[in-house]
Amino acid sequence: MAPPSRFGDKAFQWLTLAMALTVVVLVVLTGWQLWRGSSLAIQKFGLHFLVTSTWDPVAEQFGALPFIYGTLVSSLIALLIAVPLSIATAVYLTELAPLWIRQPLVSLIEMLAAIPSVILGLWGIFVMVPWLRDYPFPSRKRLFGWTPFFSGPIYGTSMLAGGIIIAIMILPIITSVSREILRSVPDLQREAAYALGATRWEVTRIAVLSYARKGLFGAVILGLGRALGETMAVTMVIGNTPQIAASLFKPGYTLASVIANEFTEATTDIYLGALFEIGLVLFGVTIVVNLIAQVLLKTMTTSTSATRAVQ
């Protein structure tokens, strides 16, 4: 008599395999559908689509470069702002904060994540952008106006405003994932460091942050994934102008925003095809950025183990 448990094990294995495969199938189907939808534009524009900057629905000339640029730059600005803030917050919450303050702070951060992006966008237009235009932007211009990044007239709506709103949106996810990771650092690590006479800062730096490095990097990548695809709030403050300008005060445009903006009213086939291809490009950019992140993560871990081996 065959033991019944073996059948159950097999069935369970197949079931989970099937579930895991659905994810793969979904990704492939999405890519295929985008490819099919954009075939007309791919045929007409070829690789020029990726390197030209004209976006003219009337003349039906389409190029994605300003959108690719805008997506990457706004996400980079967002990471520059959000990563130090989130990780510092997570460190404070796990290592330093008195117990009574932790839970309320955590709830507040989670509430930030729950704000619908269109609401954040409206807040962006009516509160954040006017404030940025009147106070922080002019002072940055006074200090750094000699660099190309902070030159030119200030309208408020700009690449920088887009980056800032994305930063606000990815703060909660990076913070809560980082917090979970820091919490999972074994107390033995900390105790060992204290036992060696380390100060609090040294404990945090050596025993906690260094130990959790890989996980924190993962948290940043999750945030980046969100940043690349963030749409509604960004489109409301970024100025929606397809141009490549060094100045962060100039308006920009992102891949996700142009799809959201123009898809509903696009009537010609080639126009729709171009928008589909923008989707395909966004899909590609996300995959490439994630692959780069994986490689970085690999080199980071191997170099760490190498240093360990040397020590």
Partner: protein
């Protein structure tokens, strides 16, 4: 019975009012309308996934040729696009088509430009940069506005042209009417275009525009209907009413259309749809003004009703 439609967002408030009211006239029929945008409306009617489509711009010959049958354009109501601005003290402004085109081309950059001053003697125009704001999303509003600019400025027609979204020579893009209105309200020196109702609701100033006969007109429901009455409307009802030749016509206005097949596949449904269309063109039109839409003038109503009578089951 359920009749499905999809398309334009601009007429959505009045269409839903009509569906509500019509339920009292004929309780046996219910309407389901999805305001997914004019592009979507055209696509859905071409694919025959809806019983009627709706669009803020007439369908192109190219798109019509893809249809499996003849598609009729039924104009329902019209609306105006206004030029709104943000200046200290909000002075009343008068603008003509050439000046507006030059502002949106980026050639008139400053509020104290002599071209603006020429039609506004006495107005205090500051030495300030004009911050141009336009729609970033594809929209019927942009279609109407760029249609007007293409008619009044050869340079605009050549450089940017007319579509639901164009390659803007200058300015920043706001999403939706609310985005442009918000942007203009928040930015000193800004100038942009929105649907009339957004300017009135937000208490924003809007310019009088010089019409084809040289009169400066305020956008009102009357001056829009006047534009409809004098516009050149062909028999297929695919018309543009910008820069209409009437003396009392406001020049930046556009109609919105329902799209239906002349040959209905489902006889019972087709009969109900025709009854509804006839009702909306007569009783329905009377509700337009309350919702800030301009109704069709009598003459156009009659022509449209005749056309509706040609729908076959």
């Amino acid at each position: 019975m359920m009749i499905n439609g999809a398309g334009a967002t601009f007429p959505y408030p009045i269409y839903s009012k009509w569906f509500d009211e019509y339920a009292k006239v004929d309780p046996s029929v219910r309407f389901n309308y999805q305001s997914i945008g004019s592009g979507g409306g055209q696509k859905q009617i071409l694919a025959q996934t809806v019983d009627f489509g709706a669009s803020d711009g007439p369908m192109s010959d190219d798109n019509l040729s893809k249809a499996p049958g003849k598609i009729l354009h039924i104009p329902t109501v019209a609306g105006a696009v206004v030029i709104t601005y943000n200046l200290d003290g909000n002075p009343a402004l008068k603008l003509d088509g050439d000046t507006i085109a030059n502002i949106f081309l980026g050639k008139i950059k400053n509020w104290n430009d002599p071209k603006i001053a020429a039609s506004n003697p006495g107005a205090k125009l500051p030495d300030k940069e004009i911050v141009v704001v336009h729609r970033s999303d594809g929209s019927g509003t942009t279609f109407i506005f760029t249609d007007y600019l293409s008619k009044t400025s050869g340079e605009w027609k050549e450089k940017a042209g007319n579509n639901t979204s164009v390659n803007w020579p200058t300015g920043i893009g706001g999403k939706g009417n609310e985005g442009v209105a918000g942007q203009v309200k928040q930015t000193p020196g800004a100038l942009g275009y929105v649907e009339l109702i957004y300017a009135t609701q937000n208490k924003m100033p809007y310019a009088e525009i010089k019409n084809a006969t040289g009169e400066f007109m305020k956008p009102t429901l009357e001056s829009i209907t006047a534009a409809l009455a004098t516009a050149d409307i062909p028999d297929d009802f695919r018309f543009s009413m910008t820069n209409a030749p009437g003396k009392d016509a406001y020049p930046i206005a556009g109609a919105t259309w329902l799209l239906v097949y002349q040959q209905q596949k489902d006889a019972a449904k087709g009969k109900k749809l025709v009854e509804f269309l006839k009702w909306s063109l007569t009783d329905g039109e009377k509700m337009a003004k309350d919702l800030q839409y301009a109704p069709l003038p009598e003459s156009v109503q009659q022509r449209v009703l005749t056309r509706i009578g040609e729908i076959k089951m």
